[in-house]
Amino acid sequence: MEMSDVGFLGLGISVLIHVLFVTITMGVGWITAFSRYIAYRKNDVSLEKFARRTFRVLVVFELFSGVWGTIITVFLAGFFPTLTALATNVLFAPLLIALISIMIRLPSIGIFWYTWDKIHPRIHSTIGFIMAISGFTIPFGFRAIFSEITAPTAIAEFVAKGFATAFASYSSIVFWLLYLHTVFAALSVGGFVVAFISSLDKDLNGIKIGNRYGLYFLIAQVPIGLFYWLSLRDFSYYMFDKITFGSFLPILALKITVALVLLIIAVIAISAKDKIKYQYPVILSLLVVFLGELMNSGARYPYMVILGKEGIHFSNFLNFYIEIPMTAVFVILAFLVVSIIIFSAALFYTVFKRYLLEFPE
């Protein structure tokens, strides 16, 4: 395998894993914070227990999902230094928004977890909302990169004028549709994850809350997904063509099929209450996210930045400054697999053996 392909594949895989993890954490974060607040306002003890249980998932997932963000950054700077140098110029402000959000998000999760029952619920709920909202402002920054390499606006302004205004990338309709799609997907996946966690504890109310989030935001994704697809036709024809008529058509077809199956299961789940195996909606919803992101990242190949019907080949951004030692790269990839195994063990102990219950229930 060529170094260039390893770079593109490595970046793609890191993006896919990262997106899968953060989709879960964003959604679960919001559901937890909102439920905790409602529990405080209504003095609902069982709802508070539900919020605590679901939050375990976020505590375990967040840092590990963040690691993959760092991996993406190193892949970008190491394998694609030109793209990184360009992005840190034209997308300086969006990247800064993401950076500040990360700085708020991580400590607020730790603080929210360890201060439960130790500070006033009102303050605790406020920390929860800060934690949840900062989860959504991270992709508000980072999705600008994806939007730019799919349908450049800030880069276009930079090429035309020699500079790009701070928030130029937010004038793109592609960005807003992609961002909304991301947020709705996170809330939907988060809902299904919460329903699954609640089913392990036989918490019917928790299952109901999770299923509602899952179903409603799955439905909300339908028009957004459609508009996003249409926006590609207008602003990123190469990707539209590849997805609609080219090599990624089977992926699109599979995604639509899986989404339809998920929709049916989600509708049944709402009415069937505890009669459903709730791991299936989780798996299917993550599969939908995976397939969507696979199209979003892979359909641009062999281009990195799409310019209508063509693009800038990814080799234009590659690192030619050194001969990348591929042995080191493969060793790193092997150790990353090890880290996934260790993380899976932690997840198993948290979710199935329910070890992370610091609080008396």
């Binding site: 840092l63 190193v74 400590p107 360890y114 130790k118 590659l318 050194i322 990353l336």
Partner: protein
């Protein structure tokens, strides 16, 4: 190009990161000791203390990770010229750091989730593995930082411009390309980002580094790694020490004393090794590889004799401490050599340079190129020495403040350790310091580890100015092209945000530590 405010912002980011990383590296040592004690005695106090420290470690780790992200992004966003180094000299260390970071987090999560639920020795092993990866992470990041201080693999490039400098290892770089990029950057007046962001430029420039592992072979890197990592252990453990000293003083509870004794023992051992052995080797390396920094540390405006310092730095008390007057004499050796003459030695003509600049999307103004081409190198040499000299007073004062507090901490660590071990020493300590002896000594140990670290890092970073990559690149060449990011207002805003988050985070750790046991 104004870079002062961004330098301040970067320094604050690095300092906050250093605080949290120190706790990340130091506290696990104590948790491991507590788990061993718990396993041996079955005393629940040790397990409770281990759990409390784990809770603090968890929040601290999050703060370390975000400040690490800040530093990482700060590097590529505020100083995007460093992307060239990340893609070459720093590629292998930073790529390997991914192994460390990913496994560190996975193991920490596993440790937190399973602590108290599985056998203590299994928890011990999980935490030990976490700690090994955390240390490995520190090793790799320090290796990258050390490359900025002694750019190993660039051979005699810096020496050609500044004859008083040493050679930095073998010539593993493509001299012609490095010289071309440097002259293009100087002539265009643009930061490197303006050049390296152009699509296709990397392919046109091609290989600039022949040995991607060269950063690991630097003698300064090896010494720096030991010095920095052990300093971090010391800071982390001394923070815990002072916390428990106060808790014990106010509560007089035996359980706090138990933890205090363990922490005092660890701190004592670290104090025996860190400043004496690794600190000494670090000083020697600075004298060898950063002559201007060493002169700044010793306030050597003029060359002078100091047998003690000379013995410690060079192993020869009769050797003079080279000062800036001697460096200026070295600059004279360059005679009337011009930038163009050096470029020709590297195999470049003016026409070739213009052509390269055009190809990589940074066309040069011929008149400006003439000016740079005909600039005498010794003028550059004098000018940079003058810039370095401006910082001599602060670097010198910082260095000796560091040394003074280090000695204070060293003596206090011995006194506290013996206070717990020997009743006769304990009586003497109590007679001198009274009932507050433990608190006072712990506080002095804390100051004796934190202040030397703070000032030590200041000397390390400011002492290598006016360069960011010693002898090769200035901050102005690495800074972002984004205008508003270089303003004071932007830096002030970011400093406010970073400080707010860090202070809130530290307060949260304190709150957790205070309330966790309730």
């Amino acid at each position: 190009m104004e870079v002062g405010s961004l330098l301040v912002l970067s320094a604050i980011g690095v300092y906050f990161h250093a605080i949290f990383v120190s706790i990340t590296l130091g506290v696990p040592i104590l948790i491991m000791m507590l788990l061993l004690k718990y396993n041996k005695t079955g005393d629940q106090d040790y397990l409770k203390a281990a759990k409390l420290m784990t809770a603090v470690l968890a929040v601290n780790f999050a703060l370390g990770a975000i400040t690490g992200t800040l530093v990482e992004f700060g590097l590529v966003q505020a100083w995007p010229g460093t992307i060239l180094a990340i893609a070459s000299f720093a590629f292998v260390p930073l790529a390997l750091e991914l192994i460390a970071f990913a496994n560190e987090i996975a193991l920490l999560v596993l440790f937190i989730v399973t602590l108290g639920r599985i056998k203590p020795m299994t928890s011990f092993v999980i935490l030990a593995l976490y700690w090994i990866f955390a240390v490995f992470s520190g090793v790799l990041i320090t290796a990258v930082n050390s490359w900025l201080i002694a750019p190993w693999g660039t051979g005699g490039i810096a020496k050609a411009l500044y004859p008083f400098m040493p050679e930095f290892g073998p010539m593993s770089t493509d001299l012609e390309k490095i010289v071309a990029l440097k002259i293009i950057a100087i002539t265009s007046g643009l930061p490197l980002q303006a050049i390296i962001q152009n699509p296709g430029v990397a392919e046109k420039v091609g290989l600039i580094l022949l040995d991607p592992f060269v950063a690991f072979t630097s003698p300064l890197a090896i010494v720096s790694i030991l010095h920095n990592i052990f300093a971090a252990f010391l800071v982390g453990t001394s923070i815990v020490l002072v916390f428990y000293a106060f808790r014990y003083y106010f509560s007089k509870e035996e359980r706090h004393l138990k933890v205090l004794k363990i922490t005092a023992g660890v701190t004592f051992i670290l104090f025996l090794i860190q400043p004496t052995v690794f600190g000494h080797f670090m000083g020697e390396s600075v004298a060898n590889y950063n002559p201007t920094k060493f002169a700044m540390m010793e306030n050597a405006v003029k060359t002078h004799y100091n047998p003690i310092v000379a013995f410690l730095a060079y192993g020869d008390p009769s050797k003079p401490i080279l000062g800036f007057d001697e460096f200026e004499k070295s600059c004279n050796l360059l005679g009337t050599t011009k930038v163009g003459d050096l470029a020709k030695l590297a195999g470049l003509t003016k026409d070739e340079l213009s052509l390269i600049a055009k190809e990589i999307g940074a066309p040069l103004d011929p008149r400006k190129l003439d000016v740079v081409w005909n600039t005498e190198v010794r003028q550059l040499c004098y000018s940079d020495l003058e810039k370095a000299m401006k910082r001599i007073t602060t670097v010198h004062a910082s260095y000796y403040t560091k040394i003074s507090f280090g000695i204070l901490g060293f003596v206090s660590a011995i006194a506290l350790f013996l206070h717990f071990k020997s009743s006769s020493i304990s009586n003497i300590v109590k007679r001198v310091l009274g009932e507050k002896a433990i608190v006072v000594l712990s506080l002095l140990i804390f100051l004796g580890s934190v202040i030397p670290s703070v000032f030590g890092w200041y000397v390390r970073e400011v002492g290598r100015k006016p360069w960011t990559v010693y002898g090769l690149l200035y901050p102005e060449e690495l800074v972002t092209v984004v205008g508003y990011a270089r303003t004071t207002e932007f830096a002030a805003f970011m400093i406010f945000v970073v400080s707010l988050i860090a202070i809130f985070g530290i307060f949260a750790m304190y709150l957790i530590a205070k309330r966790y046991e309730r």
